[in-house]
């Protein structure tokens, strides 16, 4: 039986070493697939075909299965995020307090749907399933920063600031 030799790193980008580190820590076990994909996404911001192929080959998981996992979980993204990300929480408490109106207003202002990025690559609009800050509903996250009791005006102001940057 020949010993398994993992494929070489896709490029000399240092971030691949971080990805490889996660796999090594887990002994290149197949069950480390999700953990490794998390590392790729936190290092690169998203998962592209090269990354998925590299991880699948390294862990000896069929490419179809790796792709299946990536598309099954909402957290993984196949597209690079914009420079800034506005995330509107659409959990129950936020919804009751008008999150749907916030989402509609942001969509109208940016001219994109949820999960999309403006054509200039500046702003991504995401909708979260609940960030657990329900007591301050409705909540929006500007680049991950939680802001509670969000109003349409406050949100549009933030979008304007990003747009003129």
């Amino acid at each position: 039986m020949s010993t398994f030799i993992p494929p070489p790193l896709p490029s000399d980008d240092k971030r691949w070493k971080i990805v490889n580190g996660t796999m090594r820590k887990n002994g290149f076990a197949r069950n480390a697939l999700i953990e490794t994909l998390h590392t790729v996404q936190s290092s690169f911001g998203y998962l592209d075909d090269d990354a998925i192929t590299f991880v699948a080959r390294s862990l000896r998981v069929p490419l179809s299965q790796a792709y299946g996992v990536v598309t099954f979980y909402h957290y993984f993204s196949l597209k690079p995020p914009g420079k800034h990300t506005l995330t509107v929480c659409a959990g129950t408490a936020c919804y009751i307090k008008g999150a749907d109106k916030l989402i509609a207003a942001a969509e109208k202002r940016l001219g994109i749907g949820q999960g999309q990025t403006t054509s200039d690559g500046k702003i991504s609009l995401m909708v979260a399933r609940c960030v657990g800050a329900c007591s301050r509903a409705p909540v929006a996250l500007s680049d991950g920063e939680v802001a509670g009791e969000m109003t349409g005006d406050l949100m549009l102001e933030q979008l304007e600031r990003w747009a003129v940057e």
Binding site: A29, R30, N31, A32, L33, I34, E35, L37, H38, V61, Q65, G68, V69, F72, Y73, H74, Y75, F76, A90, G91, T92, A93, C94, Y95, I96, K97, D100, I103, A104, G113, V127, A128, R129, C130, V131, G132, A133, C134, S135, R136, A137, E145, V146, A147, G148
Partner: protein, 551 residues
């Protein structure tokens, strides 16, 4: 680590704390932190230095009444301040040793009076990143006592005696589950903590993991000792980065102190914990789906039996409990099963943490004894509905639960009572709705959630939720017919009875409960083409949250 060493640590912490004249605790939970609690803490440190006072400034987990945040509690006087910002730091430090600052004082005695704190006993009192703080409040005492003085069966007996039931929502007797795993054969067993708090509108588990991580670790270690497991996994949502960080620190500290690892407390008991990140799939709250996800696969549920207790993670016997269940274990082992069973109602013992949100004055985390009336939670603890609006319904159990109308507010909160009225206990989200909430729209919101979260494995759930969504959208747009209602009821029955896992089986609950208690609102939409709450945009006919239907 021995019990004597543990007591030594507790003693040195209290000696250290006694050096200070005052303690100022700053809540650093998400709600307070997002309103500048970090800046406030820095300002307090600076002010204390400038004033030359000896003050211990501590960052703590969630204190409870989030709507009054950022919160600060001054000890030993036990004065609570609300809506504090960095600019108030000087006034607070100046008041130490004298009269409290009147304009910041927070009088929530009614809010706290009815609460009983077991799971949240340390919340607001310890620094979550300091294991010694936890130890100073009897932390890890239960684990070491159990390891040295109790048999595994003794621990299980104590949990059975307490009457504790699963806090993830199912309500399965915890002692019974532990007993099954303990009896299962095999040399390798796992203990898994379900921290995949997916219910939108619930954040109890997040607060416990962030505010008191060692409580979860100790509960898991006790469980592992009782069932004979040597390896544990905590499955946490990736959306909770702070919880992940706190647990990581907690596990590292516990290892350093010899409370995790090999030969814990000089016994033959070995146990260690690893963290696994979720990736945003609600269905992973279901136990078999969660295990698949830990194994690195798509989170799709499997038919049971075999139950995870017999064949779970990697095919080995596995114990799965929710964060809050584990958080109850240490106090039960420490104080005895009878103590726990003395709280709560007939078949639901102990306390329950609820995340009180929506149209209510005091939003936040509350812990109440089981059996307490919903009215007391909403009107007394929660302070009622603000803004002159009237209470319409309270939603429990998230997308698997139902809406309970005003006439049923005198219901005592227990697993069985909530089930009887068509809702469920769930993990503990409690969302209050007033006259500005449309119940048809709320039902549609939950069905839309279940539709997009359905894993797609079984047809009743995958196609059924999509059909329910179509019908509800039609009604919301004023294009529904009375026949649609009959069809909806029929469809709900089919989905309930034929779905594979809990997600599908409970997905119709929000529809059935609103149809039962608020049928007039459905009829109003259909017959008179108007939305009584003014939420549904019947004219424009644009769905509020457009989604792709993948049936």
């Amino acid at each position: 680590m021995t019990i004597e060493e543990l007591e030594q640590i507790a003693k040195s912490v209290s000696q250290e704390n006694a050096k200070y004249d005052f303690e100022v605790n700053v809540c650093m939970d998400l709600a307070c932190a997002s309103q500048g609690a970090e800046k406030l803490r820095d300002a307090l440190v600076k002010s204390a230095e400038a004033a030359g006072k000896s003050v211990l400034i501590r960052r703590t987990g969630c204190m409870g009444p989030c709507s009054s945040g950022p919160l600060v509690r001054v000890d030993p006087d036990d004065v609570l301040y609300k809506r504090v910002n960095a600019g108030n730091a000087e006034a607070i430090v100046g008041s130490l040793g004298g009269e409290p600052v009147p304009e910041l004082q927070c009088d929530l005695s009614e809010h706290f009076e009815k609460q009983v704190r077991v799971v949240l006993e340390n919340a607001g009192h310890i620094d979550p990143e300091k294991i010694d703080d936890y130890i100073s409040r009897d932390g890890y005492k239960a684990l070491l006592t159990a390891l040295t003085e109790m048999t595994p069966n003794g621990v299980i007996h104590r949990i059975t005696e307490s009457g504790l039931r699963g806090r993830g929502g199912g309500g399965y007797p915890t002692g019974l589950k532990w007993g099954t795993v303990a009896k299962a054969g095999g040399d390798m067993k796992y203990v898994v903590c379900n921290g995949d708090e997916g219910d939108p509108g619930a954040f109890m588990d997040r607060s416990v993991m962030e505010g008191d991580p060692h409580r979860v670790i100790e509960g898991m270690a006790l469980a592992a000792y009782a069932v004979g497991a040597s390896k544990g996994f905590v499955y946490v949502r990736a959306e909770y980065p702070v919880a992940v960080a706190r647990l990581t620190t907690g596990i590292r500290e516990a290892r350093r102190r010899g409370l995790l690892g090999n030969a814990i407390c000089g016994t033959t008991f070995n146990f260690d914990i690893e963290i696994r990140l979720g990736a945003g799939a609600f269905v992973c709250g279901e136990e078999t789906a969660l295990l698949a996800s830990i194994e690195g696969k798509r989170g799709t549920p499997k038919p049971r039996p075999p139950y995870p207790a017999v064949s779970g993670l990697f095919g080995k016997p596995t114990l799965i409990n929710n964060v809050e269940t584990y958080a109850n274990i240490a106090p039960i082992v420490r104080n005895g099963g009878k103590w726990f069973a003395s709280m709560g109602s007939d078949r639901s013992k102990g306390t329950k943490v609820f995340a009180l949100t929506g149209k209510i004055t005091h939003t936040g985390l509350v812990e109440v004894p089981m059996g307490i009336k919903l009215r007391e939670i909403i009107e007394v603890i929660g302070g009622g509905v603000p803004g002159g609006h009237t209470f319409k319904a309270v939603q429990t159990g998230g997308p698997s639960g139902g809406c309970i109308p005003a006439e049923m507010l005198d219901l005592g909160v227990s697993y069985d009572a909530l089930m009887k009225v068509g809702s469920i206990m769930g993990s503990g989200g409690m969302i209050v709705m007033d006259d500005t909430s449309c119940m048809v729209n709320v039902a549609r919101f939950f069905v839309e959630f279940c539709m997009s979260e359905s894993c797609g494995k079984c047809i009743p759930c995958r196609a059924g939720t999509a059909q329910m969504h179509t019908l509800l959208t039609r009604i919301c747009l004023g294009k529904g017919t009375m026949e649609d209602l009959d069809l909806l009821v029929d469809l709900c029955g089919t989905i309930k009875e034929t779905s594979l896992c809990g997600l599908g089986m409970t997905a119709p609950n929000p529809v059935l409960s609103t149809l039962k208690y608020f049928k007039n609102e459905y009829i109003e939409h259909i017959v008179n083409k108007r939305c009584p709450a003014g939420v549904c945009n019947i004219e424009a006919a644009v769905p509020a949250v457009p989604v792709e239907v993948l049936a």
